[in-house]
Symmetry: C2
Subunit: 439 residues, 2 copies
């Protein structure tokens, strides 16, 4: 059988990685797919990259500057979009679909924001849009959720799905350094971009979480409803106190089914140190899935980088090569559920989210302070799990009071926090970090 013909848009890190993996492992890949997978055309904006690429592959594979030429090429069966960002990626993907081509993409931002439009267009044309590489790099988590766990009612997903922030948090904990210092180190080592906003503010994690949530619960992608909170204001002090209490702080993406709707949130989270996911260090990713039949499963690996991401892109190419011959109604649905089974379950506002909390209050070191604070919590029906008070030094007038609460509703906690913050004995803004047992 003839090789399937692939057009590759983008020769950056992942584009080059995809090319190399396909070349290096072509015998293994053909042995699995039953058909060769051949890059038939490449589009790269950067003329130097294009030239370097052409020097490697010779004239056999045309490399064009204009990606329009690639998506219009009638010889191409599958378009691989690896340029990232919204435009021109969105237009190129939609044109490829309109031209009847399957699409493989690693573009989480595009799908989290415009997935509904793109999947609908693909359905109408009977083509596949595959996106394993968009979430957690080389970990086959989309496949696990969409195909491996089809028997289950999924209850929640919690993931370390951004390597940059996990690297920073690991270094802050391991070396006791503050955020700004570690960020600079991460930038020097290439773990963080020169403009790190998307990573450190949780946006990248929220894009990925939005996709997992849609697949897990059979709802449309709704990035605009996600709560997004990063790690830039996290203090080394709280990492240390959390550790004393038996917890680690991780930036988690959490999505959970509740009676009234779905929670969809990215924020720093205390998790018990004994959990496997609490021990995921450095730039690694891991996703925990809780489901009714299988119980807890965890998936771990590299969430970024040229070849780990290429691993997912190529796995999608093999899948699409197989699916191309299947009856479209029996392919794996883009969002795991058939279009007529997608539900309109709402995404819950943060005020209705259930979590436990870690609170750090800088308080006057005088009698009655703890009692006033615990009274406020009791009035809001928030029960206390543990209290830790720093031993104040001789002559010191203030101290740190750490409180771990049991699960409560966030809106109620916000009210209690406002009251506590108003106490004259509370001397600084209260630090509040959500806490999950993940059990």
């Amino acid at each position: 059988m003839n090789a399937i013909k692939v057009g590759l848009i983008g020769l950056g890190t992942v584009g080059a990685g995809t090319f190399h993996v396909l070349q290096r492992n072509q015998a293994e890949i053909r042995g699995r797919a039953g058909r060769g997978i051949e890059i038939a055309m490449v589009a790269a904006r950067n003329p130097e990259r294009a030239k370097a690429f052409q020097a490697i592959v010779g004239d056999g594979v045309p490399c064009v500057g204009d990606p329009q030429q690639l998506v219009a090429n009638p010889d191409i069966d599958i378009v691989v979009e690896l340029i990232g960002g919204i435009e021109p990626a969105r237009s190129l993907v939609l044109q490829a679909i309109a031209n009847g081509k399957h699409v493989v993409t690693a573009n989480k931002a595009l799908l989290a924001l415009h997935g509904t439009e793109i999947f609908e267009a693909a359905r109408e044309k009977g083509v596949v849009v595959a996106f394993e590489a968009a979430v957690a790099g080389g970990i086959p988590i989309i496949k696990a959720l969409r195909e491996g766990l089809t028997a289950n009612r999924i209850e929640w997903i919690a993931g370390i799905i951004n390597g940059t922030t996990n690297f920073i948090l690991s270094e802050m904990r391991g070396k006791g350094l503050d955020f700004a210092t570690v960020l600079k180190e991460a930038q020097r080592l290439g773990y963080a971009e020169s403009d790190p906003t998307f990573d450190i503010e949780g946006v990248d994690a929220a894009h990925k979480l939005t996709l997992m949530s849609a697949i897990a619960f059979g709802v449309p992608v709704q990035f605009d409803k996600a709560h997004v909170e990063g790690i830039s204001s996290l203090q080394a002090t709280d990492i240390k106190y959390a550790e004393q209490l038996g917890y680690r702080i991780k930036l988690l993406g959490i999505t959970r089914r509740r009676p009234g709707g779905i929670e969809l949130r990215v924020h720093p989270t205390l998790i018990p140190s004994s959990r496997l996911i609490a021990n995921v260090e450095g730039a690694m990713n891991a996703v925990v899935v809780q489901a009714d039949a299988v119980g807890t499963t965890l998936y771990y690996g590299k969430g970024a980088g040229a070849e780990p991401t290429a691993s997912a892109v190529v796995a999608d190419l093999v899948d699409v090569t197989r699916l191309a011959t299947a009856d479209p109604d029996h392919r794996v649905p883009h969002l795991a559920f058939q279009p007529d089974a997608i539900s309109d379950t709402p995404i819950l506002p943060m005020a209705e989210v259930h979590t436990a909390f870690y609170l750090r209050l800088v308080v006057a070191d005088q009698p009655g302070v703890l009692s006033r604070i615990t009274t406020i919590l009791a009035e809001h029906d928030i029960s206390i799990d543990a209290v830790l008070q720093r031993e104040s030094a001789e002559g010191e007038r203030q101290t740190d009071l750490i409180i771990l609460t049991h699960d409560t509703v966030e809106g109620r906690m916000n009210e209690a926090l406002a009251k506590m913050q108003g106490l004259p004995t509370v001397l600084a803004p209260i630090v509040r970090i959500r806490k999950e047992e993940l059990a």
Copy 2:
């Protein structure tokens, strides 16, 4: 579209679990599969189970005593074999295939021993034999290896793939108890069978490893070539010393590609305590896969039990429902590689396997003992990584000498061990446990 019709052979733990999961989650499953999955007939040897089942489902689903009747039923599209063991399972599966039915099975022993015959029969009839439930229960590891990592040249797999032994080892370490005591506790709690041989001697793990090895490396299933060693002779003392040196002992199934062939072995193994897999406790399973593009990935979850195993059985049912409409040449191949891409790379004999070693020698506490032992190791070109000597008590004439070696070839270690054992100052049989860094 009409529901696909399933015949279920076996109403034991997994059979009942499969029935319950299909019932409870039928809306979700249909939403994903695009088609209902309906149990149309059940076969159960045990008349009481059959009666209890009939009482639940009423007369709508016939329950027969003779499974032949089920595999011969022309209305059945997929036969689910959940009776385990070799016969009559083998004959029933082959008959189902001969009758043009797809098969889903959790039977690792059957496939590890007779997989070649069964997959060949399935290929000839153009049907699928799916077996996600045969390895690591609900963890979708077969899917990850066969479909998620298709881009990769897989280098090695190391897995905790038997929950009974991992429970026993966790308890031995956690409570400092010996093997026999913990085995009794495990039997009382239902984690170990009354005849626990298959689990504790590593046979069950070797069945599963054989399947993963075939899929990873594109070779036939060859259970007869596997090295199988269990945990029944493991001593609490060695778990303790390993811990002092920064290691945990796990029963691992390891398969690794080497220049001259493939290693295929199950044995107790020291692994660094900092590895994620070293922290997998209790009856949980985990599999680490090392592959060239993606790097290290890990998959964790429940490896046994009614619903975790049913989760995998039902995922296979959904897959088969989809694949049923695909061109047979483009389905996922049973052993990941197309039949013409299966290689005859040999399985290496244990004498040619590379590992590091933990040695515990009971030696006379006198000068020159360590020197004689290290000389023997040096003569065999085995280099030492660490030495730990127990402080001997006042007046005690003997002590424990623990040696960790670097990687060597097992045959060479066997020769060195024979020489060491012959020394008059070595007072007891030397304990030897293999050690892997898994990095």
